[in-house]
């Protein structure tokens, strides 16, 4: 039996004769041994880990990635608990698209990006907002349709923009975000900045006509585009194979002669490395990459059914077995990252627990901010039709002027 990551770490530290080693030299040592180490409880092989950890991920960065994953996780769990317990909660299950279970994808990809790289996502876009550094308060006020929130009540949970962090938009429509981001990539190319454009979507988007248009043209024009398919196995209640002739959606990249990469979506470092390669390719002007991250959503499509206060995930859904949910939870992306940090000695259990509490507190504060915020003014429904901001004419009343 090959040594576990823990044992290997001890061995390397020992070989450094009592002197405290940095993570880097530890890893080099570990990689040098070339041992096929045993699978961690998390399902990761430590050799793979060692190869995946790259010099540009500092300890602080690895901790930050974990902190973001915790924020995502607890934002979802808190929303669920409030939804079930607070009669006056100004939001609904039908506009809550939980991301729990997929955190490694958003964090892995965005870690490979600069702040000014543009991303776009879908209804399931809260995770990406946090990953890109978004404001929990504005998000929460957004999903509760408060005047202080993202979009000020006009668009609730599916239409978020924070340009200051490169979160260009989320959308509620399956398909078009990738072609709009290919358009963004064309704009980037025209400007000559070395930004990249990243579209996040899921397995349901493959059948969309925009899938073809975006990848075909991005390949032809060598646009700086990443298309991240978070294959969470379901589109609504439909298993992905109902709409996919392909086992791996990434195979479709062959039809465009571009790289199509399948990656473990529970492992944030695997995702990061795939994204890093794709980003480098994009910045070099070599064109788009399709990345399919195999992952899972713990909750339902939107979060209502099968949720219990204090318990993560949705159970008892007709279209998927509970044991499937549990199997994926056994490879939980947040736990995997935590274990890594512990095993590498970057944080302690106590610190980890402290981070969980901090995330919870931050989330709680955001929900409080949202609850305390004012609702929009009714008559503002006539505003923001045009960029001048002024209202258009009312037409619902008898006594309004015709011009």
């Amino acid at each position: 039996m090959s040594p576990t990551l823990d044992e290997a770490a001890v061995a390397v530290e020992k070989s450094a004769s009592g002197k405290s080693v940095s993570r880097r030299s530890f890893l080099k040592g570990m990689a040098a041994t070339g041992v096929g180490m045993s699978v961690l409880a998390t399902g990761l092989k430590s050799v793979a880990h060692a190869q995946q950890l790259t010099p540009d991920l500092t300890d602080a960065k690895l901790v930050d990635m974990y902190a973001k994953m915790l924020r995502m996780r607890w934002w979802d769990r808190t929303y669920g608990d409030i939804l079930l317990t607070d009669q006056n909660f100004r939001s609904w299950a039908h506009i809550w698209y939980p991301y729990a279970g997929q955190e490694a994808v958003a964090v892995g990809v965005t870690t490979a990006l600069n702040q000014d790289d543009w991303i776009a996502t879908t209804w399931r876009g809260a995770g990406h907002m946090i990953a890109k550094g978004g404001d929990l308060k504005k998000m929460t006020a957004g999903i509760t349709m408060k005047a202080t929130g993202l979009n000020g009540g006009y668009g609730a949970s599916m239409h978020w923009t924070d340009k200051s962090i490169g979160y260009l938009f989320s959308t509620g429509i399956v398909g078009p975000n990738v072609v709009l981001m290919a358009g963004v990539a064309a704009g980037i190319k025209q400007r000559g900045t070395k930004q990249v454009a990243v579209a996040f979507a899921s397995d349901g988007a493959h059948a969309s006509p925009y899938f073809h248009v975006a990848l075909n043209e991005a390949a032809l024009l060598k646009l700086p585009l990443l298309y991240i398919i978070e294959n969470n196995l379901y589109a609504g209640g439909a298993y992905y194979k109902v709409q996919n002739h392909l086992d791996d959606i990434a195979t479709s990249a062959k039809g465009y002669d571009i790289p199509g990469v399948v990656v473990d979506g529970q492992n944030v470092l695997a995702v990061f490395n795939a994204a890093k390669t794709a980003v480098a390719r994009a910045r070099a002007g070599d064109g788009p990459t399709l990345i399919e991250a195999k992952t899972y959503r713990y909750y339902g499509h939107s979060g209502g059914a099968g949720v219990k206060v204090g318990r993560m995930g949705s159970f008892g859904l007709a279209y998927r077995p509970d044991r499937e949910v549990l199997a994926w939870m056994a490879r939980d992306p947040v736990e995997i990252q935590k274990t890594l940090l512990l095993n590498l000695g970057i944080i302690t259990e106590a610190k980890a627990e402290e981070m969980v509490q901090a995330a919870k507190a931050e989330v709680a504060e955001a929900f409080k901010f949202a609850a305390d915020s004012p609702v929009p003014k009714a008559a503002d429904a006539l505003r923001h039709v045009y960029s001048s901001g002024g209202p258009v004419a009312a037409r619902q009343f008898a006594n309004t002027k015709l011009f």
Partner: protein, 325 residues
């Protein structure tokens, strides 16, 4: 008369409209081609028409629509029931640029016996613009070669579906998603609700109110209130947007001399514009008022949404205003 739900009425209409043939294809993004109603047998298209009669393959509205057109070209009756209003515009090219024009351009050598059930969003709170917009009525009202109908009761849903399937023409059947929970009286036997004929929901002499789709319940609620106040209201539910029933509209306003149109669709070129324009040409001296959703997208927050959406109070006030003129 037996009471049935909206969707069961739709399915009954499909089965009776298709008739004895198995030359039928149903595509849907939402369902599985089955409908149930208490006391009635479950309608299961796969059982009735075979395993290949139902296509439900994923999120691909173009595809469902293409099947509806393509299979109809070789003579199958088809029903495209994708239900995904947020993708209506994506299917517009196939319905409008293909289905509506083929019969004419081919000099009658092609026919497209297809029914496109195009849902209109239920204007639900929390969703906003792309998921909550009420607007498709105008798109399809302007298309020639299509017939465009918009039922407001399970009875009309079934009767219009049967008429549509028997017509041999491409029909857009606009289904306001908010009606899916309705139930109402629906005869068991086959019957047609005539395409091209408006329904006079209440007869009266003081004012004509015209609406369609989800404007209709607002109109009817306001009409009840007005009637209680002694106003004699003629309330007309268009049911067919194209070809429009000019005769019923004109004859009514010839009598009442006052026309109020009510649209959940956005004001500019909402169906009410056509109604007023036709009547204005035919009935000199009549007085007119239109109310509609303003020319703005639909917002998510309840306050914003409800401010713009037409409700019975809006209709009532507009009627009073017009009666006072």
């Amino acid at each position: 008369m037996p009471v049935k739900g909206w969707t069961y009425a739709k399915f009954e209409g499909i089965v009776q409209g298709v008739g004895d043939s198995k030359d039928f294809l149903y595509t849907s993004e939402g369902g599985a081609g089955t409908a149930s109603w208490q006391g009635y047998p479950t309608i299961d298209f796969k059982k009735l028409y075979g395993p290949n009669s139902v296509i439900v393959t994923g999120i691909d509205e173009m595809w469902y629509t293409a099947v509806g057109v393509g299979a109809a070209l070789i003579g199958l009756k088809t029903v495209v029931d994708h239900g995904m209003y947020m993708a209506n515009a994506l299917t517009f090219d196939l319905i409008h640029q293909q289905a509506s024009k083929l019969h004419f351009m081919h000099g009658g050598d092609l026919t497209v016996p297809a029914v496109f059930v195009q849902s209109i969003a239920a204007q639900e709170k929390g969703l906003a613009g792309q998921h909550a917009e009420y607007e498709e009525d105008s798109w399809y009202m302007h298309s020639a070669g299509l017939k465009t109908v918009i039922p407001t009761t399970p009875y009309d849903m079934k009767g219009l579906m049967i008429a549509a399937l028997r017509s041999g023409d491409p029909v857009v059947l606009l289904e306001y998603a908010g009606f899916r929970g309705l139930s109402g009286e629906v005869p068991d036997e086959a019957y047609e609700v005539q395409i091209g004929k408006a329904a006079v929901r209440s007869r009266g002499n003081d004012i004509t109110i015209v609406s369609s789709g989800n404007g209709t319940p607002q109109m009817l609620a306001a009409a009840d209130r007005l009637k209680k106040e002694g106003v004699s209201v003629e309330a007309i539910d268009l049911l067919t947007l194209h070809p429009l029933d000019t005769e019923t509209l004109v004859k009514s306003v010839q009598k009442t001399k006052r026309l109020l149109t009510v649209d959940q669709s956005k004001y500019t070129l909402a169906p009410g514009a056509e109604v007023v324009a036709r009547v204005a040409e035919a009935v000199p001296g009549a007085k007119f008022k239109r109310i509609a959703f303003p020319d703005a997208p639909v917002a998510a927050a309840p306050e914003l949404l409800e401010y713009n959406r037409i409700n019975p109070e809006h209709v009532y006030q507009a009627a009073k205003w017009l009666l006072a003129k």
